[in-house]
């Protein structure tokens, strides 16, 4: 009898929170994202997670164990007090947040602070978003001066154009495609409740397979729109903090969004998205562009696109594990001798120019411009892993020369 009671208790402990969470998600679906999911989230709250493996164990070993468990469909044992259904709840919340970021009408002020290789960068932006429509973004610093108005216009028009073309977009990096990647590299867990800009929020935490905290998301309890995001590096340092300091939802926000001027999109470049990023990468390497399939920090190639400019073709390679995103822009040529507004620094031994989150350098007849939402050490690793401005050496020079000769004589290249 006691045995049966224990069994029933264990089953109830596992299933009830999961069912409540599922009901909460279903209720959210039926309520078009406006339903209150507080009850379900409160029931699913945890006091974990705790890493199973000792801290001295190598992360690669733990990650391999996790990959095997995931492939076999078994619950991950990396976080001992987190069940598979609770992990699924965390990911479902983020997935719904990605949908809400597109479907819900909102207007607010965002403050973003990020650590770059030349220090911390902070921007303040006004954001208008009409449900299933365009997102308009205007930096407040740009609004202060006439000289930067064009920059604000550029950003705003691009966001509007994106909405029209159906490209992925979201709030604080919570997009459908990136959330799908998150599930492959992190464990998402609903943890706690909080408040952002005077609104009640559910907190979802992301853990690496070694048990370290990678990110925290605050999702609006009523709409699930992301209100705040914090990113941490592997040493638990806060490297990025994006948050609404003021936000409105619903009809009032919609009226303000409708009143915001939508600028012309004529000045924008047209980017062609590669259907197969891997094939696009192979074509680039075939042309002698030495671009990798995976960047340091375990960031695989996630998406690719290209555009044609007055200076030739520009390829964009986006690497991401769902949380950290690196956009690498590659084009033929050399950096101009003077780049007004950029700071000349040495990054990983390379001569580079840095401006905010952008790092640009040239090497091997190519110009690389990287915009990265990653820890500064990852930026240095990426710059060090790609060809730089230094002399290539005898073998490197011969290799490059033979490659160019082969392309000259190859009629199919």
């Amino acid at each position: 009898m006691t045995r049966h009671s224990l069994l029933l208790t264990a089953v109830a402990t596992v299933t009830v929170p999961g069912l409540l969470a599922v009901f909460g998600v279903i209720g959210h679906d039926q309520g078009a994202g406006q339903g209150d999911i507080t009850a379900a989230l409160d029931s699913a709250a945890l006091s974990g997670p705790f890493p199973v493996a000792p801290a001295t164990a190598r992360a690669a070993v733990r990650n391999n164990v996790a990959a095997v468990q995931r492939a076999s469909g078994a619950p991950l044992t990396i976080l001992s007090r987190v069940t598979a259904s609770q992990q699924a709840t965390g990911l479902q919340l983020l997935d719904k947040a990605a949908d809400a970021g597109l479907a819900v009408t909102y207007q607010g002020t965002e403050v973003s602070s990020q650590s770059g290789v030349d220090g911390s960068v902070t921007t303040i932006s006004q954001v208008w978003h009409e449900g299933e429509g365009a997102t308009l973004v205007r930096t407040s610093s740009a609004a202060m001066s006439a000289t930067t108005a064009d920059a604000a216009t550029t950003a705003t028009s691009a966001a509007a154009a994106d909405a029209a073309s159906g490209s992925p977009e979201g709030v604080f990096g919570v997009t459908k495609s990136l959330v799908a990647l998150l599930g492959q590299h992190y464990v998402a867990v609903y943890r706690d409740s909080g408040t952002v800009a005077g609104r009640a929020a559910a907190v979802v935490e992301l853990y690496r397979f070694d048990g370290s905290l990678a990110a925290q998301y605050w999702l609006d309890r009523q709409t699930l729109v992301p209100l705040r995001r914090e990113l941490f590096d592997t040493s638990d340092n806060l490297i990025s903090n994006d948050s609404f300091v003021r936000v409105q939802f619903g009809a009032q926000a919609g009226a303000q969004a409708a009143g915001a001027a939508v600028p012309s999109t004529s000045a924008q470049s047209t980017w062609v998205t590669a259907v197969s990023p891997a094939r696009f990468l192979a074509s680039l390497t075939g042309q002698g562009w030495p671009v990798p399939g995976t960047l340091p920090g375990g960031l695989p190639l996630h998406a690719a696109a290209w555009t044609q400019t007055a200076n030739g073709k520009v390829a964009e390679l986006e690497y991401s594990d769902g949380l950290y995103v690196v956009s690498l822009f590659v084009q033929q040529g050399t950096l101009a001798a003077r780049l007004p507004g950029w700071q000349q620094v040495r990054v990983a031994g390379q001569q580079a120019f840095v401006s905010g989150q952008s790092v640009s350098w040239s090497g091997g007849g190519l110009v690389y411009t990287m915009i990265a939402d990653v820890p500064p050490q990852t930026v240095r690793q990426v710059v060090g892993a790609l060809p730089g401005s230094g002399p290539p050496g005898l073998l490197g020079r011969l290799e490059r020369g033979f490659g160019r000769m082969a392309r000259l004589v190859n009629p199919f290249s």
């Binding site: 966001a159 994006d242 948050s243 915009i371 490197g396």
Partner: protein, 167 residues
């Protein structure tokens, strides 16, 4: 009736003796065919002897010995020993010169291609001078990463200081 066959050449060369010589002479007396052939052989031998007189007998001997070779190896098909020393040296030199020409040509081609590759492998300065269109890149990055875009580089230096946010 059988003829003398191989004995005929021995008879002409004076190599037969005794009963063999008697029997050959007896046959020649009664066989016109062998007699005619013997006369023809003698004429030929005489003519060869006259021709051989024009050459140095020692030289011929030396060359014949050389054909056999000191190690007993049959060198009859070695072209070098069948020609006079002067021609042999010239052909030997031409042979080596040919090899040198081939090797020299191959080396020149390899060095030339290597130099061309070295030249083409340098010059990273080829191509246009690029000023990164960071405002365009920022927007593209914002679209794909789901973040708000940054502003242009000039604006970044005028950014407002960090603002404390409300959790």
């Amino acid at each position: 009736m059988s003829h003398l066959g191989d004995l005929l050449s021995g008879l002409v060369d004076g190599e037969l003796s005794g009963a063999e010589l008697d029997r050959a002479n007896a046959h020649l007396a009664s066989c016109g065919v062998c007699r005619t052939e013997a006369n023809a052989l003698r004429r030929l031998k005489h003519e060869l002897h006259e021709l051989a007189g024009a050459c140095d007998a020692d030289e011929i001997t030396r060359r014949l010995l050389a054909m056999a070779g000191p190690d007993g190896r049959d060198r009859r098909y070695d072209h070098a020993v069948l020609v006079p020393d002067r021609d042999q040296g010239r052909e030997h030199g031409e042979h080596h010169r040919g090899r040198r020409v081939i090797w020299g040509t191959v080396s020149l081609v390899v060095v030339g291609i290597g130099a061309a590759a070295f030249g083409m492998g340098g010059g990273g300065s080829t191509g246009p001078q690029i000023t990164p269109q960071v405002e365009v890149f920022d927007v593209q990055h914002a679209i794909t990463s789901g973040d708000v875009p940054y502003t242009d580089p000039a604006d970044r230096f005028a950014r407002v200081p960090a603002v404390a946010t409300t959790p």
